[in-house]
């Protein structure tokens, strides 16, 4: 292969690709973030498949129940990326003091403050900060695999909204939080993996975060439909929220950077989904008015002070926003949902391949990976690698997290296909 860069570590491999240079093989992420992970039950199955030490897997992201991809599994899967997580999970408690828990009969490890009760109908309810005296903020239907937010919408007066209510969860990081982040970044940054940081606080109206499941008593607009409506009918209010949120975010990024410098390679900026399966949640002009200036402010600060690359997740038919993402300073797009309207891989690569890194797009997780045959998985993986990998600008990941119930033989077919493509 011509012009292949010499690399010695996974980190160099990822960095080559992020700089749109051809690495020695396709770099791979499984488990680097909350949108590029693997359900804990699949992590357990993979560990069994590869004959790795048998022990309960840690749930490092309790909302979607994503499992930890430890170094031995990273090696088996060919993973090049390691996560640097923020001080607290989405439910507001830290990933510490691990304890056993049974997920539909599978023994896993959960954080000490992962405190749940079982509702009358058998659903599992989880509590913000693990406080069982608060109202539950998440619900896992009986027999299913992850939580969804419980909407706790307090009464609000639409004529007297106070933007500070929707800024409750955005605060300056404490010294203890900065120490925690610094320790994690230092530990990850000295290894051979590319480091993928998710500090939180930079997501603008991510609908998964709007209900504020980490808070015991969320104020402001917390109902999902009400938030969507507000992006149309209360734009001044949303501007006020985003404007102040970004001020806080940049101050936090400054303080984080002072502590960790360039020991992280990629920053998860925002998971707000702008695409639907066939259309989008707003028009491009609305995006440019309501989101772009704030993304740009954060990206400008990051690019003028750090070497971090900026990662933006947006499911669905998101191509229409890519020019604006580029203008805002976003470097990496995920999950590159090729099955959505307008997301043809060849088109995306030819139009944006030199300006955006595709972190995802590897295989469809709505149909092919969970319900297809191993051969169908293999064919799609090889096809996507052929399209996305030339010239770098590609980090292989499934299109969003690997879902519970995905056959392990399909995941293994994906890994084998990746290996054979790179051989």
């Amino acid at each position: 292969m011509a012009n292949v860069s010499a690399v010695n570590t996974s980190r160099q491999r990822v960095l080559e690709s992020l700089h749109h240079r051809q690495p020695d093989r396709v770099p791979i992420d499984f488990g680097g973030s909350a949108t590029t992970g693997i359900h804990v039950s699949c992590v357990a199955k993979l560990r069994d498949h590869f004959g790795l030490v048998k022990h309960p897997v840690k749930v490092i992201e309790p909302f979607q129940m994503l499992g930890e991809v430890e170094d031995d599994l990273k090696l088996a899967l060919g993973v090049d990326v390691t996560p640097v997580l923020g001080p607290r999970t989405m439910f507001g408690f830290a990933n510490e003091n691990w304890k056993p828990w049974s997920l539909n009969g599978l023994e896993v490890l959960v954080p000490g403050n992962f405190n749940v009760t079982v509702a009358e109908n058998g659903d599992t309810l989880i509590y913000p900060e693990g406080d069982l005296t608060a109202l539950p903020s998440g619900r896992m239907p009986k027999g299913f695999h992850f939580f969804d937010a419980i909407i706790r919408q307090n009464h609000f007066d639409p004529d007297h909204l106070d933007s500070s209510d929707n800024l409750q969860e955005f605060e300056l990081l404490s010294q203890a939080d900065l120490d925690d982040i610094a320790a994690k970044a230092r530990a990850a940054g000295t290894g051979e993996y590319a480091t993928f940081a998710s500090f939180g606080g930079t997501a603008l109206g991510d609908i998964a975060l709007v209900p504020a499941i980490s808070l015991k008593d969320p104020r402001g607009i917390r109902d999902v439909a009400e938030w969507y409506v507000s992006t149309r009918s209360r734009r001044n209010y949303i501007h006020q929220v985003f404007s102040r949120q970004v001020e806080i975010a940049i101050e936090n990024l400054q303080r984080i950077y002072q502590r960790i410098g360039n020991s992280i390679d990629v920053l998860f900026l925002c998971g707000t989904d702008f695409g639907t399966q066939t259309s989008s949640f707003c028009s491009v002009p609305t995006f440019r008015e309501l989101w772009l200036p704030y993304y740009k402010q954060m990206c400008d600060w990051i690019h003028s002070h750090t070497s971090w690359k900026v990662f933006k997740h947006s499911c669905g038919s998101s191509e229409r926003f890519y020019e604006s993402f580029i203008e805002a300073g976003i470097d990496i797009v995920n999950p590159v949902q090729c099955s959505a309207t307008g997301m043809d891989p060849e088109y995306l690569k030819s139009k944006y391949g030199e300006r955006l890194v595709f972190w995802g797009g590897g295989v469809d997780t709505q149909q092919v990976l969970p319900f297809g045959t191993p051969q169908e998985v293999r064919e799609q993986v090889l096809r996507r690698c052929r399209v996305f990998s030339p010239g770098g600008g590609f980090v292989f990941n499934t299109i969003h997290n690997i879902q519970a119930g995905t056959p392990v033989e399909n995941i293994v077919a994906m890994v084998d296909a990746l290996r054979s493509f790179s051989a």
Binding site: A225, Y228, V229, S279, Q366
Partner: protein
């Protein structure tokens, strides 16, 4: 005199306050609620659907229009019932077992209501048994099943199987939709119809209930 153009515009622009105010005026003036719905509300929601199809409207605009329409329909429905007016069709709708997502389902329900259908919304995380008992009890023309999650789409199949087991499958048309649902999947699980968005759902539902009048 109630300004029906103002009502049409209020629904189109998602202005619930105005929609309710004009509807109250119309009721006070004893306008026929069935005519108000057929000549103003249904055309307004059809236009909302058209604007969504051509991507001038998006989810927020659909939600706003639906609220305005519901504000008006809440006032008109009791009058309709009293006058014995027949709906376009009867629909039971819900998000399938294991899935707590309801925005897409709510939009479909609203658009169907806006299209003149009588809609019973069973909510989210609805068990196959609940769907079956509702079909048995309410005898709808259509059963609409929604799912957002890949892992819950198979619950649609389970629900259709449960209808068969209960001997009710032939009594109702089943429509499915949601992010992980494709026309192929709909066919494979034995659904009668599929629609990729809320606006199309109305067109498909009309085809089932009134094939002669379908748009």
């Amino acid at each position: 005199m109630a300004n029906l153009k103002k009502l049409y515009d209020a629904v189109l622009n998602g202005d619930a306050k105005t929609a309710v105010a004009v509807t109250q005026e119309a009721i006070a003036e004893k306008l026929d609620p069935a005519v108000l719905i057929s000549d103003t509300m249904i055309p307004a929601m059809a236009e909302v659907g058209r604007l969504y199809e051509c991507e001038e409207y998006f989810v927020p605009e659909l939600l706003l229009a639906a609220r305005a329409m519901k504000g008006s329909l809440t006032l008109l429905r009791p009058l309709l019932a009293a006058s014995g007016t027949k709906p376009t069709g009867k629909v039971v709708i819900g998000t399938v077992k294991g899935d707590l997502h309801d925005i897409g389902k709510n939009l479909v329900a609203s658009m169907l209501e806006g299209g003149g259908f009588e809609v019973t919304d069973l909510g989210a995380d609805v068990s196959p048994d609940k769907f079956v008992s509702s079909v048995r009890e309410l005898k709808p023309d259509l059963l609409c099943l929604s799912a957002l999650l890949t892992v819950t789409a198979p619950s649609m199949r389970t629900t259709i199987e449960a209808l068969k087991q209960a001997g009710l499958r032939e009594s109702v048309k089943v429509m499915v939709g949601g992010a992980p649902v494709t026309p192929e999947f709909a066919r494979e699980i034995g659904a009668d119809g599929y629609s990729e968005n809320a606006s199309q759902a109305v067109v498909t539902a009309r085809q089932f209930c009134h094939p002669d009048k379908a748009a």
